[in-house]
């Protein structure tokens, strides 16, 4: 339960970090370490060079303007959660982060690190897909920007190439008049979700106008619920819940089984969360 030996560095610049990452085939980036260090403690991850980016100049920033929120690679989840401006521009950030780990985990864990780790049951990758986030990456061949929809390839597998480093992620401002709801079923507060949902919903006049629905904990990557997105248009609180739930069931036929829940349970759970989110969005719109 202790990590195997490795070499450690703590670069001051992105260029130095990239050089260190390139110095070994099994180099890894240490940001918050709340997933990487457990994996190293268990000897599940083979690391020869650990590149601690926490003192790289400028990477801990959280910048917020009317266009959205940009979170640097070393910015902790607590920092973003407590950032008052960020929650106003991208409401989903606070909604998602409240579900991430526990206080002690969020105090170290980073937003970008959660994206790089790409746990299928994690909230932030689903939020990134739902909100159309763009991930900025630096590597030996320069910089590139990757849409969240193209970033997640499989469980714990992203579009990041060897030697590349996420420098920041940009979450675009939430559409005016919309609400983002993040809800999940988990066995204990702070645990990874058995299944969950990120819903960005626009509603007025007592009916849903449109919604972006992304499930998590269902498959290897965040799952866009496109049938449900079509079914939810025009949905009102007095409409039958079954129409929405059936659409979600159609979108989630590939949901996986494990010791925590069957595929069927996960699909039912996300269907129920979708109905709940639609009702919540309608209630919020009425109250606004």
């Amino acid at each position: 339960m202790k990590p195997a030996p490795f070499d450690y560095c703590r670069p001051a610049t992105v260029a130095e970090a990239l050089e260190a990452l390139g110095s070994s085939e099994s180099s890894r980036v240490l940001a918050g370490g709340q997933s990487l260090i457990p994996a190293m403690n268990f000897r599940l991850t083979d690391v020869s060079v650990l590149v601690d980016i926490n003192r790289v100049d400028g990477l801990a920033s959280v910048d917020c303007d009317l266009g959205g929120v940009t979170v640097g690679a070393a910015a902790t989840q607590t920092r973003v959660l407590e950032h008052e401006g960020a929650a106003g521009v991208v409401g989903g950030l606070r909604a998602a982060l409240r579900h991430v780990g526990h206080l002690q985990i969020r105090n170290r864990g980073t937003v970008c690190g959660s994206l790089a780790h790409a746990d299928p049951a994690a909230e932030l990758p689903a939020l990134a897909v739902a909100s159309g986030a763009v991930i900025a990456v630096s590597g030996p061949d320069g910089e590139r920007r990757i849409d969240a929809a193209d970033f997640f390839i499989g469980p714990f597998w992203t579009a990041l190439e060897d030697g590349e480093l996420i420098t920041e992620v940009h979450f675009p401002a939430q559409p005016p008049g919309s609400v983002t709801i993040v809800d999940e079923i988990s066995r204990r507060a702070g645990d990874f979700a058995v299944a969950g949902l990120v819903a960005t919903v626009q509603a007025d006049g007592g009916a849903v106008r449109s919604a972006r629905l992304v499930g998590f904990g269902l498959g290897g990557v965040p799952t866009r619920l496109e049938t449900a997105e079509a079914a939810i248009e025009g949905w009102a609180a007095d409409h039958p819940a079954d129409t929405l739930a059936e659409a979600v069931m159609a979108d989630t036929a590939d949901a996986f089984d494990d010791i925590h829940a069957t595929s069927w349970y996960r699909r039912e759970a996300v269907a129920a969360l979708t109905v709940r989110a639609a009702r919540q969005a309608l209630a919020d719109a009425e109250a606004a």
């Binding site: 339960m1 202790k2 990590p3 195997a4 030996p5 490795f6 070499d7 450690y8 560095c9 703590r10 670069p11 001051a12 130095e16 260190a20 110095s23 070994s24 240490l30 370490g33 709340q34 260090i37 457990p38 403690n41 268990f42 060079v49 650990l50 590149v51 601690d52 926490n54 003192r55 607590t78 780990g101 526990h102 206080l103 002690q104 985990i105 105090n107 170290r108 204990r188 507060a189 702070g190």
Partner: protein, 171 residues
Amino acid sequence: MTISEPISEVDVEVTVNGQPQRHRVPARLLLSDYIRDTVGLTGTHLGCEHGYCGACTVIVDGDAVRSCLMLAAQVDGAEVRTVEDLAPAGADSLSPMQQAFHDNHALQCGFCTAGFLMTLESVDPTEWNEPERVVELLSGNLCRCTGYQNIVTAVTEAWSAYDGSGGSDDG
């Protein structure tokens, strides 16, 4: 201090419970093992060593963290507080929260207690004293003896006396 070239041993200068410490440690040394084995403060307990149980919670620069999920190398330049700092040696009383734990039977074997106390010490009671918030705060620490109810009772009692002046809990 930054380190541009990867190295296997790292110099660490850190303040632990107000005392400056300076050691050269293996890069792979966890903060939890550094506190217990290098500094010699064994009040911090190691349960799972993968971030699940919260027994090893300490305070780094004001934030509660899992010391098993940090490297000793990472606290270079930081201030670390452990459970030993709550009622320092020679003090003739427990901290108010420790006393409330004692009074309410909020521990049995005591293995998890240091972690609970450091989580509680790290937060502003005025932001966390609603009953639901107390439960949420404590969800990151496992206790297998008490069933949690006595811990919640102890926290409620200690914080009901908190006057917001910052003088009651700061060791």
